[in-house]
Symmetry: C2
Subunit: 614 residues, 2 copies
C-alpha cells in the first residue's frame, strides 16, 4: 500500500546541531546559565517565563524525571497524571481560588478553571470519590506534570518560570502517627534522589505556614547565586530557612566585634544602645484580644514566630487601622468603650531603655487589661546571633537554591474537601491525614547546572547527562576505514547502555579544538578522540571531563571507594587492558585531570566504572 | 540527619485496588468503554471532557507512547516538548486565532494566550529563530504532549476529550520532492506503529482541505461504533474518507435493486426519475465569476470536489445572498449591469429532464456569459455507487475511528510565519516545505479498547497491556510456603522483563473466580493460577486471554508463523519442559482457547514467546 522512498536523503540533520548557536568558549563563564541553555540548544524561551524544550534539554529533563520515578516507586508511591484544567469549585472549597498567581480561564459553557499550580484539591476529590474504607489506606500517589504560576516577575530560564515541570506527591493516612512516619519515608526518598544526583545538597527546617507543627523540610543546593537564605548552627548543626530560624541576640559577638568584624555586627550593637522600637498590631481570631508586637526598629518582624507562641493570632488581617477599628467595634459594645485584653509581645532585644511607640489614642484601656510577654524572639535571625533552638551555637548564613519541599498537611485540605472515612470501629468519621511532597523538576535541572558549571561550561552528573560519551574523530583521519571502526565502537556502546554523542560527524568545518570545547560545554562526562592511536594500535584514550564535585561524590557515596579505583586495583585488568591511568595532566588541547588509556577489551568496563562514579 | 521509620506499615495499599470499583462481570458488555475505564480504575473524569489518569491507565498510555517514540526515533525524528501557552501574536499570523475551540486566557500583564491545540505556529517560530542555512535541513521534530480543544459537545472518556495527549510531528524541507518523500517516510512509520499494536487498521485517503494536493492520509480502526465513514472500492481497493471519496452513479445497481436490495439504492433510482435539483452559489477569489453548482436535491453537496476542478473558487464565503450581492456590485460597474461570467457546474447525476431552480432574478445576464460543465461528481458518495477514482469498482462504506492523520502542508504555515532560508545558490529566499503528522495518543488507547473489547472486558495487545501476566493464588493455598515460591517466580519474571500483576494478594475476600474475571476484564494477556499442581509438581499452567485478533496478528506479521508454534516445533522443548499445549478448551471457570502447561524451565521462554505473539 505504501510507496517506499529510497531516494530520501539519508543524512537527516541532527537537531542538536541546528539548535546550537555559536559560542564564545573563552567567555563562557560570563553567560548566565539560562543563556547558556539557550545557546547550547537545550531550551528555547518563547516569552518571559515560558519554555520550549529542545531535544538536548528534554533528554536531560527526562533523566532527572527517571531518578525521581525510581525512588517514588521504591516507597510504593504510584504514578498518576492529573488534569491541568482544575475547576473553580474545587479551589473555592479550600479558599485558594482568590490567588493572583493562578492562570484563570473560562470555557465555552462559561465554567471557570485555573491551570493547576498544585493539585491538593484535585487529588483529594479523586481519592474521595474512590475511597471505600480505611482498608484502602495508606495511599501514596505522585505525578510529574506541568504546573502553572503567573508570576509577575518571572526569571529568565528554568529557575522561576510560569510553566514548569513539577513532581508533586500526596499521601493519605488514617492517623497522625502513620502520616508523620510517611513524612519521614518521603524525606528518605528525597535523600536518595539527591544522593543519586551527586551534587552537594542540604535539607533545611522550614516554616510550615498556616498548618503549624515542625513537619516541613526544604531541600536546597547551597549556591552564592541562590535566592534563599539558610542558617546553620555551629553547635546543634541544624539547618533552617531564614523564615524558620529562631535566634537570640549574641552579646559576646557584640563585644568581640570592635575592630575588623563585619559592620553588620556593629550595627546590631549600636541598635541595642539607641534602642528605638516599632510596633505591629494583630487580633486573635475572635477579635477580642489585641496583640501589640514590639521589636527593634531596624529588624524584620516575623509574624510566624508570634503565631508559634500565640496560636489564636489571625495573620490574614494585615491593615493596621482596620485591625484597630475592628477591635474597637468589637469591644466597645460589651465593655462600655473599654478594651478587654491587650497582649504586648516584646522581642527579647527590647530593653527597659528602649523607646516604645505610643499606644493608639483611639483605644481606651484599663491598666489591668494588659499582659506583657517578654522573652520571645520575634524578628528575622541575623548572622552571628545565637541559635534560638539549642541556645548554644552561633548561626551563620549561606545562600541557596530551593529545589524540593516536603510537608505534613494534617487535615488542612481533607476538612474543606470532606475527605473522610469511617474509623476502624465504624463509629465516627475521620478526616484523612495528608502530606504533600514537591520537587521542581525543571528547576532542579537548572539548579544543578547553576551549581556545577565551571570554566568550560555545563557539567552534568552522568546519571542525567544528555549523553555519556562524546566521540570525536580528528578531521584528518575521517575516512571510510575510520567510519567502519567507529560504527563498531558505537554499536558496542549502545549494547552496553552507553549513550554516544556523535552529533556532528558529518560536518568537516568543525575543528578538533572546537569539538572538544563543545563536549565540555555540554557537560558530557567522558570523551574519546579517534586518531592514529586507536586506528593503528587499537588503544583508546578516555578523557574524563573535570567536575568540581568529584571529591564530594567520593565522600557521600555509601561505598566510599570509587568504582574506577576498585577496577584498577586488580592487576589482571591493568595487564590485560594495557591500562594507563593518568591523573591531573594538562596539555595544550584542554585542561583535564584524569585520562584512561586502554585497549579495546578494557574500553567498556572502564567507561562503565567511570560513569558509576561521575 | 533523617529518622528511620521502621514502624511504618509495610503493606501500602495498592492504588489499583483503591481505584477499581465493583464490576458486574455478567453485564460487562453493557458498559460503554469509557465507563469501563472508570470502573476499572484507568481514568477518572473530573468534568466533561477532562481526564485524570490513574496508575493503571497511565501505565497503558505510557506504553502506547513508547511504541510511538521508537518509530519516530527510527526515522530520525527528534523529540521536543513545546509550551502549552501559545501567544496570540503567533496564531494571528496564520489567521487561526479566531477559533472558538481554542481555550484562551490572559495573563497578569494582559498578554493573550491560547492553550495549544496543535503547534504549527510555535514550532515554525522556533525553527525560524534557529535555522542558519539550507544545510540545517531536512529537520524532523515531534512531541507527545497535552493538547486542548474546547469542544462544545465533548464525548465522555478519551475519544473526544477537551484535554488530550497528542503526538504531533513536523517536518521541514527545502524542496517539495524531499518533503513529499518525507510524507511517505512518516506513513511508513505509522504503518509500523499500527502493526506493532496488532489491531486491524486501515489508512484512508483524506481531504487535504485548503492546502490542496493528494498528500493527506488518515489512519483508522474500522469499528461499527466509529464516528467516521470510509469507503472502499471493490476494484482499485483504495480506501477513502467520505469527504474525499469521489463517486459516479451506478446504473446497474439501480437496475438490479428491484426486489431485495437495500431501500437506499431504490431511493437513488427514484431520485433520478423524479429529478429535482438544488443549487448553491460560489464566487471565485476575484469576485468576477459566479459558480452555480446544481446537484440532486436529496444528496449532500461537497464544495471541496468543485474546488478540485475550479481551484480559484472561494470556499470561505458562505452566505448565498451575500455572494449574489457581491457579485452584482462587482460586475455592475464595469459591465453596465450585466454579469461577466457564470460557470454552471452540473453534477453528473443531473439529466436533461431534471427540474433546475430558477436563476436569481436580481442578476441580469447575457446568454453567452454562461459556461456549463457537465461531467463532475460533486456530491457525497453513497453506498454501491461507482468509484470515482478508477471508475470500475463499486464502493462500499464502513464505520471507523480515526486515530492518526498525516499531512503534507507545503508553505501553508511557512509563508505567514516567514520561515525561509537562502537557496543553495544563495540567490533567493525559499519558504520551507512543511508536513505535519498527528496521532491522538489518548484517543488511540481508547480506540484500541473499543475495537478489541469482548464479553470479558478489555483486551490489550501485550505491547501496551498494563501488565503481562496475572498471578492468582487459590485462596486455600495462600500460606508462607506458597508466598516464598511465588516471590521467586515474580523475581524471575521481573529479571526477564515480564510485568506481573499481583495487585490483590493481600486480600482474602477475593474469590478465585472473581480474580480471574478481574484479570480478564483488565485485558491482561496471560494469567497463571497457583495451586497444588505448581506447589507439589512444579508445573505451571499458563492461560492465554482470548483475543478476537489472534488470527489477524498471524496474518499481518512479517513472519507469519507464531513464535509459540516455532518454539513448540522443537521436540527438545516439548520433552525438557513437559510441555502440554491445549487449544480451544472450555471449563467451568472461564472460557479460554489456549493453555500451556510447562515445568519451571519452560515457564519464561513460553511466556516470552506468547507475549511476542499477543
Amino acid at each position: 500500500m505504501l510507496k517506499v522512498s529510497q531516494n530520501y536523503p539519508k543524512n537527516i540533520a541532527t537537531s542538536n546541531q541546528v539548535f546550537r548557536q555559536e559560542i564564545d568558549f573563552k567567555n563562557i563563564t560570563k553567560a548566565p546559565t539560562y543563556a547558556l541553555f539557550q545557546k547550547l540548544g537545550l531550551i528555547s524561551s518563547s516569552s518571559s517565563g515560558i519554555i520550549n524544550w529542545l531535544p538536548l534539554g528534554l533528554r536531560i529533563l527526562k533523566k532527572v524525571e527517571n531518578v525521581i520515578h525510581k525512588r517514588m516507586t521504591e516507597i510504593g508511591c504510584d504514578e498518576v497524571a492529573l488534569t491541568s484544567l482544575s475547576s473553580k469549585e474545587l479551589w473555592q472549597k479550600t479558599g485558594r481560588w482568590e490567588n493572583n498567581e493562578l492562570f484563570k480561564l473560562t470555557d465555552l459553557k462559561k465554567a471557570d478553571y485555573c491551570l493547576a499550580a498544585t493539585c491538593e484539591e484535585e487529588i483529594s476529590e479523586i481519592v474521595k470519590s474512590n475511597l471505600d474504607s480505611y482498608k484502602d489506606l495508606p495511599l501514596l500517589l505522585y505525578q510529574i506534570t506541568r504546573k502553572y504560576r503567573d508570576e509577575l516577575r518571572p526569571r529568565a530560564g528554568l529557575l522561576r518560570s510560569r510553566e514548569f515541570v513539577m513532581k508533586d506527591a500526596y499521601s493519605f493516612h488514617l492517623d497522625q502517627t502513620d502520616a508523620k512516619m510517611c513524612f519521614d519515608l518521603f524525606n528518605q526518598a528525597y535523600y536518595k534522589i539527591f544522593n543519586d544526583l551527586k551534587v552537594p545538597f542540604v535539607s533545611a527546617l522550614a516554616d510550615s505556614g498556616e498548618i503549624g507543627g515542625d513537619l516541613s523540610l526544604e531541600w536546597h543546593y547551597p549556591n552564592e547565586n541562590g535566592e534563599d537564605t539558610l542558617f546553620e548552627c555551629s553547635h546543634c548543626k541544624k539547618i533552617s530557612n531564614i523564615e524558620k530560624q529562631a535566634s537570640l541576640p549574641n552579646d559576646k559577638s557584640n563585644e568581640a566585634s570592635e575592630a575588623s568584624e563585619a559592620s553588620e555586627a556593629s550595627e546590631v550593637s549600636k541598635a541595642s544602645e539607641t534602642s528605638e522600637a516599632s510596633v505591629r498590631y494583630y487580633l486573635t481570631e475572635d477579635n477580642n484580644t489585641l496583640i501589640a508586637a514590639y521589636y527593634p526598629k531596624e529588624r524584620k518582624l516575623m509574624s510566624s514566630f508570634i503565631k508559634k507562641e500565640i496560636p489564636e493570632i489571625n495573620l490574614k488581617l494585615k491593615d493596621q487601622s482596620e485591625i484597630l477599628k475592628l477591635f474597637k467595634e468589637n469591644t466597645d459594645e460589651e465593655n462600655n468603650g473599654f478594651i478587654k485584653n491587650v497582649i504586648r509581645v516584646m522581642d527579647v532585644r527590647i530593653n527597659p531603655s528602649t523607646i516604645l511607640p505610643d499606644f493608639p489614642s483611639e483605644i481606651k484601656f484599663q491598666r489591668n487589661s494588659f499582659t506583657t510577654l517578654n522573652d520571645f524572639s520575634i524578628v528575622e535571625a541575623k548572622e552571628k546571633e545565637i541559635c534560638g533552638d539549642c541556645e548554644k551555637g552561633v548561626i551563620s548564613s549561606f545562600k541557596s537554591i530551593e529545589v524540593g519541599h516536603t510537608f505534613y498537611l494534617g487535615t488542612r485540605y481533607s476538612k474543606p474537601m470532606s475527605l473522610k472515612v469511617k474509623s476502624t470501629d465504624g463509629k465516627q468519621d475521620i478526616y484523612l491525614e495528608m502530606g504533600c511532597y514537591g520537587i521542581g523538576v525543571s528547576r532542579l535541572m537548572a539548579a544543578i547546572a547553576e551549581v556545577s558549571r565551571d570554566d568550560s561550561g555545563l557539567c552534568w552528573p552522568s546519571i542525567i547527562a544528555p549523553y555519556h560519551l562524546s566521540l570525536i574523530v580528528i578531521p584528518q583521519f575521517s575516512n571510510e576505514r575510520t567510519a567502519g571502526k567507529v560504527d563498531q565502537l558505537i554499536k558496542e556502546c549502545s549494547e552496553n547502555g552507553i549513550e554516544v554523542f556523535n552529533g556532528n560527524t558529518n560536518t568537516n568545518d568543525y575543528s578538533l579544538k572546537k569539538r572538544i570545547n563543545e563536549t565540555m560545554s555540554l557537560g558530557i562526562p567522558l570523551f574519546i578522540v579517534i586518531g592514529g592511536k586507536f586506528l593503528d594500535k587499537n588503544m583508546i584514550e578516555i578523557e574524563v571531563r573535570p567536575s568540581k564535585f568529584r571529591d564530594y561524590k567520593t565522600n557521600s557515596s555509601h561505598d566510599s571507594e570509587l568504582e574506577i579505583n576498585k577496577l584498577y586495583r586488580d592487576p589482571n585488568n591493568k595487564r590485560n587492558w594495557n591500562w594507563e591511568f593518568r591523573k591531573a595532566i594538562k596539555n595544550a588541547r584542554a585542561t583535564y585531570n584524569e585520562t584512561h588509556v586502554v585497549n579495546r577489551k578494557g574500553f567498556i568496563p572502564v567507561v562503565k566504572a567511570l560513569l558509576k562514579d561521575l
